[in-house]
């Protein structure tokens, strides 16, 4: 995430420039003249968002004088491979366009080195969820084309004997081979995972439990105090969940339901005090651990509709930005959240100013439907520019397409497996 304050007085011009990149409200034109996102093969999603400090006023209810925070521009992308390489590629091939955008930000002098400028303002996410770690844009597209080809080809009739499934599958495998040879389909083998990435992941896998183990005695000793502290705060922290204004809602609706997938960007302040700060830091570290080592294959607990999600700390951990890309409507997304992972939302977001009242960190909170729905809409920020590399595709399809490809590439299969594979088509 690249973050930079917007120069006072340039916000309107910046918003106009961002809007000019879109083909529909909020939807980036992949070939827009400023940053032609579609030209970057490894880019899954990207967004440009202007964040202001409109809700800082809530801090008053927590006895804290609201800080005057600058309006900032945020640029977030989800890409294959190393983030820094992708940033370099962007700077190289879309440098002038990026410079046009960032010229509205503080510290960007004319003729500045765009890459160096972005690197200096790049922040790591505190936690990231990736629906399917390692699935590249190319793979998504190729597997989608494969599914379409097979789906159109497969004879849609009942099979007389179980062995017929093998025969039909063999014919399809052969057909695909021919299409690949003819250049009409491509099934690029996955790139090997870089050794460095694997080593870092392994180190993380081991280091976090070790550190936790080291901290455990302290946590145990302090547990009664920590629990008391949590309950005291949960009982007293003010809820701030007024109904969002109609005009603000309309600005959000305007950007939604133009694709199977929608974007969500929300901004909120962390509750004041060291307890919440440390608690959230620890919980986000734990979330990052779970997302990196456990939830890497299509689901985050019960939720299977999130492509990418990130939590960023901001302004010395006084604020958090949450961004996600999800399938379906906003209403469905929120209902999924409440009904499937309400506990998970509470664990993290109840450390945010104004969250509906929780009990024991997991109960209540987001399950207080009306308050939660107001809260999350009120904290949502319109995403000015949003790019998705595979319009129309939903995760449920991408998962099925991947299973189709796996089945295609297996050398042998039982009759039953061959039948199950045909039924995917």
């Amino acid at each position: 995430m690249v973050v930079a304050p917007v120069v006072g007085g340039k916000e309107t011009a910046l918003r106009a420039l961002l809007a000019s990149m879109n083909s529909a409200p909020g939807i980036a034109d992949p070939r827009n003249a400023v940053v032609p996102f579609g030209a970057f093969e490894g880019l899954h999603f990207a967004r440009l968002v202007v964040l202001d400090d409109a809700l800082q006023v809530d801090m008053k209810l927590y006895g804290v004088e609201p800080a005057r925070l600058p309006t900032v521009l945020v640029f977030i992308g989800d890409c294959d491979g190393a983030a820094d390489d992708a940033l370099a590629d962007l700077a190289q091939r879309a440098g002038p366009g990026l410079a046009r955008i960032f010229s509205h930000c503080e510290g960007f002098a004319e003729g500045a080195d765009v890459l160096a400028w972005m690197r200096a303002r790049d922040r790591r996410a505190a936690a990231s969820f990736v629906n399917w770690v390692g699935r590249s844009v190319r793979q998504v597209r190729e597997e989608s084309a494969l599914q379409r080809a097979l789906s159109a080809r497969v004879p849609r009739e009942a099979l007389a004997t179980p062995a017929d499934a093998q025969r039909v599958r063999s014919e399809l495998v052969e057909h695909v081979a021919g299409e690949v040879l003819a250049g009409r389909l491509a099934l690029t083998p996955p790139e090997p995972t870089p050794l460095g990435w694997q080593l870092r992941k392994l180190a993380h896998l081991i280091a976090v439990p070790l550190l936790s183990l080291a901290a455990l005695p302290f946590v145990i000793v302090l547990a009664p105090f920590l629990v008391w502290q949590l309950r005291a705060l949960e009982t007293n922290d003010p809820e701030i969940c007024p109904r969002p204004r109609q005009a603000d809602l309309a600005a959000l609706y305007e950007l939604e339901d133009r694709d199977t997938t929608n974007q969500y960007t929300a901004l909120g302040a962390v509750k004041p005090g060291l307890f919440r700060r440390w608690l959230l830091t620890a919980l986000l570290a734990f979330t990052e651990y779970a997302c990196r080592h456990v939830y890497t294959r299509g689901f985050l607990a019960r939720v299977q509709t999130i492509h990418f999600a990130h939590w960023f700390f901001f302004d010395d951990k006084t604020r958090v930005v949450f961004v996600s890309n999800y399938d379906g409507s906003h209403q469905g997304y929120m209902d999924d959240f409440i009904n499937k992972v309400g506990w998970g939302l509470n664990v993290l977001f109840s450390n945010g100013v104004g969250w509906p009242r929780t009990r024991w960190l997991v109960f209540g909170g987001s399950r207080i439907e009306q308050s939660f729905k107001y809260f999350q809409r009120r904290h949502q920020v319109p995403t000015q520019v949003w790019y998705k590399a595979y319009p129309g595709l939903a995760l449920v399809e991408m998962k099925r397409n991947h299973r189709i490809r796996e089945g295609l590439e297996r050398s042998t299969m039982s009759d039953a497996d061959a039948l199950a594979w045909l039924r995917l088509l």
Binding site: T260, A301, D335, D336, I338, N339, L419, R423
Partner: protein, 501 residues
Amino acid sequence: MSSALAVDFDDIQGLVRFGYKHHTEASFLLLRVTDRDAARRWLSTVPVSTAVTTDPLPEFAIQVALSAAGMRALGVDDAVVDAFADEFVVGMGDDANRARRLGDVGANDPSRWQWGAGNRVPHLAVLLYAIPGRLAVLQQAIESQCQGGFERMACLATSDLDGIEPFGFTDGISQPLLDWERKRVARDAERTEYSNLCCLGEVLLGYPNEYGGYTDRPLLDRGAAGALLPNAEDAPDRADLGRNGSYLVLRQLRQDVRGFWQFIDGRAGGDAARREQLASAMVGRKRDGTPLIVPAIEQIEGGGDPKDLNAFTYRSDRDGLRCPLGAHIRRSNPRNADLPAGPSGFVSWAKRTLGFDADALAHDLVASTRFHRLLRRGREYGPGVTIEQALGSASNGNDPGLHFICLGANIARQFEFVQNAWAMGVHFDGVANESDPLLGTRAAGVDGAATDGFSLPRADGPDERIAELPQFVTVVGGAYFFLPGVRALRWLAGAQRGSLP
């Protein structure tokens, strides 16, 4: 004032409790206020029928619902109107974002509607029901009473097709059973079984809903609101304008019965049995209402007698082999619980909750049904068309259809969700790019992918797929109304300057 638990049937309009099935004649007047004072006078005395049971049956039933524009036309303060749900305040037909969400695009576009958009948004819906032979008298009386205060924008006539919707299928079988006795403790708890019993607060404002919470509504300052309105259960010092009221969604759906049967007949190659089979697969029931899932095998809370064709879930047919995943009734009411089924015990529960049960996860694509129930009160209109007639003639421009009506306390979570995610959703329960076989608009996806297919899964081969379904149902009008409690109706008619604290 009333105790927290008692339900005042005499303050609830009858439609919430009854379908008025013995009142086989009905017409819906859509009115606009022309003279505020006269309109108010009429509304403060109109004898609306309540949810109290009477014996013998009354000859007539009158129900009155108001749109947000209607409330404003009556002089209700903006602040009061704006305290109703956002969907109601903005309305159905004048919001392109909503239209996109609901599938009101293309042929369904509100700009083409007969009513419900622009200056054709009704202020009032007056629903008239009568026992056979008596509607004309009632309607004449009401229309003459309304002449001074209103202009008639439209009169939606209905026809009695004997419980069969125009395509020929028995309709109205699945309904949630409202918990009128308030047996279910109103609290937030996971429910691992599908239940047909539904908290009052899912339909009526002012009562706890399935989350154990109260849906937002105008709660007025007691002093300014006067003594007429009931107290809010959750804020006893406030007057509850919403209590005993429900949002009423009305949509006029034109059904191309000839197109429907001719298309299916073509796909069936003229074979009558095959035709019935395909049509049943698209609906999820046979024409007589028998579900494709064999009922009478499950005991469902609030499910009633197994013979009522409603006592089943899809748990035994998770792959849609008997009832296709995309069938109309499966989309409209997936009958699932909060958590996919699994063995009892904490370990299994935790695995399913954390996503570590791959099998459960594979069948966890549909949101929990109990938060998305619709209490349907629609009526058919137009001439009944038999299959033989449908197959043998071209449309004469007089297509029948359905005046779809549903009641609910939360338009966004109920009607709009069901319409958007379930009916129009092209990935509902993992189906591949297809929308509701009856309701779908067949609009191509953003990537140009066709959505005009319908898949029939089978155990012994790839899905059978019917392609190039035309659009069978067209929206030709629609609006959101509020069906107030009787006291709230009188209060709105008085249009006191209620102030929100």
